[in-house]
């Protein structure tokens, strides 16, 4: 007891130092090593990692497989893009409106004139949408596959809406942001892109900190309890609905921020961000990295996307097969993802060198087949 107590602040300090070191490397060293083109790619992947963190919260920790994260991702992206589109002389409209003969700015564009409003809306709007959707779904005790199907159905609804509304939001073409300016700087310029790259690193660190705070302590344990046996949680006197709603809302907010950062670094937001495939891929990243571990979510998003960009440069057709194979491999051979595998390898190395495995390491489930069997057969 007393030894763990004195170790806790120490390991916390080590973690903070490690995170800051990695962030420093990403923000200031990596730009010296990579070409602008590659750096921009990494920046986009780091933005995707923020969305992956949100999925890990809702799926890895709470056990709710959301296949609709694209909604929140796109909402964040659209919010920021709309603000950029409005950086025009008084009285002018974004040019696509003139193509469709629209003379006045639609009402919901108006508040996006304001920069502070935009900054808040890119996470608050997705958060509210996710919170409302989540509340209705969870209150009615919709769970498991039904939740996944429902989120996917919502995704399709949003996709079709955005895709069809030329006069409101430029429909299928989306909003291009590269030539827009913010505070006098062209978005597509190196200066702006470098800025957003560093900003993405910082936001990722913040998002990691937030998720870390949420998942440690009693709240995080409750999420795990809800994942493992939700109805038991009720009999302990907790209402799982409020916990699930909050977590889903937070995961929506993270996806929104990720979408905004991704949009400015790719120069476009379009309904394609709400395609079914992307939302499923997001889940795959987390599965590959190792769900239920925050580092795993980040790592998964980076590794899968880097592999994709390297592979598809060389062999464009192979990627989809490769991704499918990767997913199968993870599901069948590495149920705890890359992180689980790394942890085990590390344990083995430590043991070989004569250090026992750390007392605080999580015991690996699969080493005890009997327990696992029992766990699976535990009826409700």
């Amino acid at each position: 007891m007393s030894s763990t107590k004195s170790q806790q602040p120490q390991s916390f300090a080590i973690e903070v130092a490690l995170v800051l070191a990695i962030a420093f490397f990403l923000a200031f060293i990596l730009p010296l090593l990579l070409s602008d083109f590659r750096l921009k790619l990494v920046g986009r992947f780091l933005a995707l990692a923020i969305a992956a963190l949100g999925i890990d919260l809702i799926w890895g920790y709470t056990g709710l497989l959301s296949l609709g994260q694209g909604i929140f991702f796109a909402l964040g992206g659209y919010g920021f893009a709309m603000h950029l589109k409005l950086q025009l002389p008084e009285g002018e409209l974004p040019e696509f409106f003139t193509l469709y003969g629209v003379k006045t700015l639609p009402w919901f564009w108006q508040p996006f004139h304001s920069f502070p409003f935009t900054l808040i809306s890119i996470w608050l709007i997705p958060m509210i949408v996710a919170g409302l959707l989540g509340y209705l779904v969870f209150r009615n005790r919709i769970r498991g596959v039904y939740f996944s199907i429902l989120t996917q159905a919502m995704l399709v609804v949003f996709f079709n809406f955005f895709n069809g509304q030329q006069k409101l939001i430029n429909g299928t073409n989306g909003l291009k942001t590269d030539t827009d300016t913010l505070f006098g700087v062209v978005m597509g310029s190196d200066t702006a892109q470098k800025f957003f790259y560093v900003l993405t690193v910082l936001v990722l660190v913040g998002a990691y900190g937030l998720c870390r705070w949420l998942t440690q302590g009693r709240f995080g344990r409750l999420l795990i309890a809800i994942r493992d046996d939700e109805s038991r949680v009720r009999f302990s006197g907790y209402n799982p609905t409020s916990f699930k709603t909050l977590v889903f809302a937070v995961s929506g907010a993270l996806a929104g921020i990720a979408g905004a950062l991704y949009t400015v670094q790719s120069g476009i937001v379009s309904p394609q961000y709400m395609e079914i495939a992307l939302s499923i891929e997001m889940v795959i990243w987390v599965a590959v990295g190792g769900r239920g571990t925050l580092v795993g979510a980040i790592l998964g998003a980076l590794v899968v996307n880097l592999a994709r960009s390297l592979l598809s440069e060389k062999f464009p057709e192979v990627w989809l097969f490769f991704q499918g194979a990767l997913f199968l491999l993870v599901v069948t051979v590495l149920p705890q993802g890359l992180i689980g595998w790394l942890r085990k390898a590390l344990d083995r190395v430590l043991r070989m060198w004569g250090y026992g495995p750390h007392a605080t390491t999580y015991p690996s489930l699969e080493e005890d087949l009997e327990q696992q069997h029992e766990q699976q057969n535990l009826g409700h």
């Binding site: 795990i224 046996d229 302990s236 006197g237 015991p363």
Partner: protein, 251 residues
């Protein structure tokens, strides 16, 4: 009337025409330890399901302390009123440690914000430590619950139940699958808990029932067949009849 902690009146649960509970009238006093026995399928677990809000009664009503009708409340609200439940198969959170399992049950208020913002109070930590000693799991306190033996899980779940500090404990088959030694210890544990709680225990193991029970209720086909001391129950020809061929040691 006021010394009754729980009263059910004409409680009926109808599963598509099958009455798992049929006009069940039951009551238990504050501070009482009551054992409910009955053949398989008698409706014992369903009875607990109805009290805790998992199943809504088709008819009838349940009065708990001064709350005259639990029907409108959902499971977590009923739990907050002070009814705790242990399940027939032990249900503990396998990926959390023993200590964390107890802490979750112990902590209050049980809102999102207190779970996020308020650290465990000193009193709560002491309660958890005390419970670890009571259920004999001090050495396993920081082990994930999945590595506990079946008996230890049963005990942990009883500990979680007590951590909730409910006024009424509902304990469904606490000694199923335990060794004789463990069964005896569980009996002693329940007896000591009975000094400060009202408890309903459901059990098949007659040896165990004899150890703990002063007052026994026999359920049969969803209704109370008879009630009384262990001796009078065992002498009752109706009980012998419903148990015939099922648990011969009653006879």
């Amino acid at each position: 009337m006021s010394n009754k902690i729980l009263v059910t009146e004409d409680l009926t649960v109808n599963f598509d025409g099958f009455k798992a509970l049929n006009q069940l009238n039951f009551s238990i006093n504050v501070g009482e330890l009551r054992v409910i026995i009955g053949p398989n399928g008698a409706g014992k677990t369903t009875f607990l399901d109805v009290i805790t809000g998992k199943v809504k009664p088709t008819e009838g009503r349940i009065t708990f302390k001064q709350h005259s009708n639990l029907r409108q409340l959902s499971e977590h609200q009923i739990a907050q009123l002070g009814i705790g439940r242990k399940f027939q198969t032990p249900r503990v959170y396998l990926n959390l440690t023993v200590r964390e399992n107890l802490q979750l049950s112990c902590h209050r208020p049980k809102t999102v914000f207190s779970a996020l913002l308020s650290p465990p109070s000193k009193a709560a930590r002491q309660t958890v430590q005390g419970l670890l000693e009571t259920i004999g799991l001090v050495l396993s306190a920081d082990k994930p619950a999945q590595f506990l033996s079946h008996g230890e899980k049963q005990w942990l779940e009883i500990g979680m139940l007590v951590a909730q500090s409910p006024d009424l404990l509902l304990v469904d088959e606490p000694v199923a699958g335990l060794t004789d030694e463990e069964t005896f210890q569980t009996g002693e544990l329940l007896l000591s808990l009975a000094q400060s709680h009202s408890i309903i225990v459901i059990e098949h193991d007659m040896e165990f029932v004899r150890q703990i029970a002063s007052h026994v209720t026999v359920l049969h086909q969803g209704s109370v067949l008879c009630e009384g001391s262990m001796e009078s129950i065992q002498a009752d020809p109706r009980v012998v009849e419903v148990y015939l061929g099922q648990t011969p040691e009653v006879a």
